[in-house]
């Protein structure tokens, strides 16, 4: 897949928690770019600052210094409301534990971003059902998430993330709650069906079994970016 325009540009990102002697530097001077049409992995051991970095580039955690630009929008110059609106329209999230509402049907879970965008309830459910079809859960729209397997729940979370057609998709440890085969199948599915020239996907993981699906891999250690390399996709 050809690499196109810059989707995310992070420059001089720093984040620390606490003050004085208790200060912990979670992310130090991180710089990178992610492009439309690619899957970028952020990898590293626990405590390396992956999640903190992911939160900063997705407009969730304000950095102490540095800038994040998504499609030329300086994310951290936006007001809180504008930032929430920006996330709603531009970024799709797949959380590690899925965070699906057990009291809603899968279709209603998927429709949430559209409902937050103030779309009509029935219209939102219709679009959600269409996206559930994309992820292969056409006949499970009326089931609550608890009736689905882990892999199916992950796919519901993916459908929720893409239902508003965001340009950026953020997946946090997408295979952490899944067995090896299911995890690989999910990421392969994302690679084959969700990635497009107009979308950039960032995946935080420390699961080396899925590295093969990355275009590029950003490696982090102790809050620092220690390298960026091409994925092993070409070798497949």
């Amino acid at each position: 897949m050809s690499v196109a325009a810059t989707a995310i540009m992070a420059a001089g990102l720093n984040k620390w928690f606490g003050e004085g002697e208790a200060r912990t530097h979670a992310v130090r001077d991180v710089n990178f770019e992610a492009y439309f049409g690619e899957i970028l992995y952020v990898v590293g051991p626990s405590g390396s600052g992956k999640t903190t970095m992911l939160s900063m580039i997705s407009g969730i955690l304000r950095p102490n210094s540095g800038t994040v630009k998504i499609e030329d929008t300086d994310v951290w110059s936006l007001s809180n409301d504008a930032l929430a609106e920006f996330r709603l329209h531009k970024i799709g999230f797949v959380f590690q534990d899925f965070h699906l509402f057990p009291r809603l049907t899968t279709a209603e879970n998927v429709a949430i971003p559209l409902i937050l965008q103030k779309k009509d309830w029935d219209e939102a459910l219709k679009e959600a059902a269409a996206d559930l079809e994309i992820v292969g859960l056409k006949d499970k729209t009326q089931l609550p998430p608890v009736k689905l397997s882990g892999g199916e729940q992950q796919r519901v979370a993916i459908a929720r993330a893409i239902v508003s057609r965001p340009d950026i998709l953020i997946l946090d440890e997408p295979t952490a709650s899944l067995d090896g085969d299911t995890g690989r199948n999910i990421v392969r599915f994302v690679r084959e069906h969700i990635l497009s020239d107009k979308r950039c996907i960032v995946i935080v993981t420390h699961d080396s079994r899925i590295y093969e699906f990355a275009d590029r891999i950003v490696k982090m250690e102790d809050g620092k970016m220690v390298g960026i390399e091409k994925g092993t996709l070409d070798a497949q």
Binding site: T51, T52, L54, S55, S58, I60, L61, N80, D81, A84, E85, F86, R87, L88, H89, I91, F93, F95, Q96, D97, H99, F101, R103, L104, E108, I112, P113, I115, L116, K118, K119, D120, W121, A124, R160, D172
Partner: protein, 378 residues
């Protein structure tokens, strides 16, 4: 906004166990609050039954009077003095006292006897059976068909009884607005017959009933009566004075208030705790919504909607349950005093609003504090 409230509604009602616990808590609290306050309202209304039923604009009495049931007789000259006060259209005496009846079956029954002014019959009740002029017939009494009527043996016109060894005859059956508080039947007769049949102290007038020429005259009448050493109260002032007596000087009001407050605390603790747990259980999901792009105020609306919805539903169920219980109680206990007034409903509603507001306050605080970053961090 409708969409997000729809989500809030589904999150609430689909969690059936918590929704049921919330509804039970609020319904029970509302039921207790309305039951307690309506019982009190019923007691207060009945305590002023004579004032309500007679309907005089101004009541003149001894200043030491606390309730209408315990009159302190006035000397006759007070009637003349009041009649001479400028602004008084007319003033008539009223007798109110207790008597012991011997019914036809030989049983004894206490009764409240109201003696109406012979000339005007001012304060006479509406008759269901008989003619009011029959009250002037020999030994004539009118029985009031209220919740105590059966204690007279549910008499018909013509039934005889003895009152302090005098013969009495029922010449009419009347209907009044309110039954009395003390569980005794009421008989109406003329003022003079009441004095004749019931042993009395030196002074015999229980109250003077006064009609002013115009509402503007009320203040000057009260002032003139006060100068004479007596107390003149409007109908509303008198009922209020009686209510205050029962509220603050008998312990009834305090006990009812304590029960109402306890009901409120029970409702607040059950509902508050359950709602808080409900919010805590969904906290991560609210955090996820925030990460996706929900604004803080939208989450506040969700929680307020959930709290208000459950509070109003519980309120409706509580009012319904209370109405049902009072209705059932009245079927079997004619003396049951509870009445649901707008005031009862208002107090319970206010308390439900406080329960909903307090429950949602802690939930809102938690939800506003949750950071989407916490969701990522796990």
């Amino acid at each position: 906004m409708r969409g997000i409230l729809h989500i809030a509604y589904k999150l609430l009602v689909n969690d059936r166990a918590k929704y049921a616990a919330l509804l039970v808590g609020i319904t029970f609290a509302v039921f207790l609050m309305i039951e307690m306050t309506s019982l009190f309202a019923g007691i207060l209304m009945r305590s002023s039954a004579t004032v309500i039923n007679i309907g005089a604009s101004i009541w003149v009495m001894d200043p030491a009077i606390q309730t209408v049931a315990n009159s302190i007789p006035l000397p006759d000259y007070v009637l003349d003095e009041v009649r001479s006060v400028p602004g008084v259209k007319y003033a008539v005496p009223l007798y109110s006292g207790a008597a012991l009846l011997k019914l036809r079956d030989g049983t004894y029954q206490a009764a409240n006897v109201i003696g109406l002014d012979d000339t005007s019959l001012f304060g006479r009740p509406a008759l269901l059976t008989g003619k009011i002029t029959d009250i002037f017939a020999e030994n004539a009494f009118i029985a009031v068909k209220d919740s105590e009527f059966y204690k007279l043996g549910s008499p018909k016109v013509g039934v005889e009884f003895q009152l302090n060894d005098h013969r009495g005859v029922i010449v009419g059956i009347a209907h009044v607005a309110s039954s009395g508080l003390f569980g005794v039947p009421t008989l109406y007769t003329t003022y003079n017959r009441a004095l004749q049949y019931i042993p009395n102290p030196r002074f015999t007038i229980s109250y003077l009933l006064v009609e002013p020429k115009s509402p503007a005259d009320v203040a000057s009448i009260k002032a003139q009566v006060a100068k004479a050493g007596y107390l003149a109260l409007t109908k509303d002032e008198f009922t209020s004075k009686i209510a205050k007596f029962y509220m603050y000087q008998t312990g009834i009001g305090t006990n009812m208030m304590i029960m109402t407050v306890i009901s409120f605390i029970i409702g607040l603790s059950i509902s508050g705790q359950t709602f808080y747990t409900f919010v805590i259980e969904n906290l991560e999901k609210f955090g996820a919504l925030k990460a996706i792009g929900a604004k803080g105020r939208e989450l506040i609306y969700m929680i307020l909607f959930q709290a208000s919805f459950v509070a109003l539903t519980g309120y409706g169920l509580g009012v319904g349950l209370c109405t049902l219980i009072i209705w059932l109680a009245r079927l079997y206990l004619p003396d049951y005093a509870a009445i649901i007034t707008g005031w009862n409903l208002g107090v319970a509603f206010l308390m439900v609003v406080v329960i909903a507001a307090s429950s949602s306050y802690f939930g809102v605080r938690k939800v506003l504090k949750i950071e989407p970053f916490d969701i990522f961090r796990g």
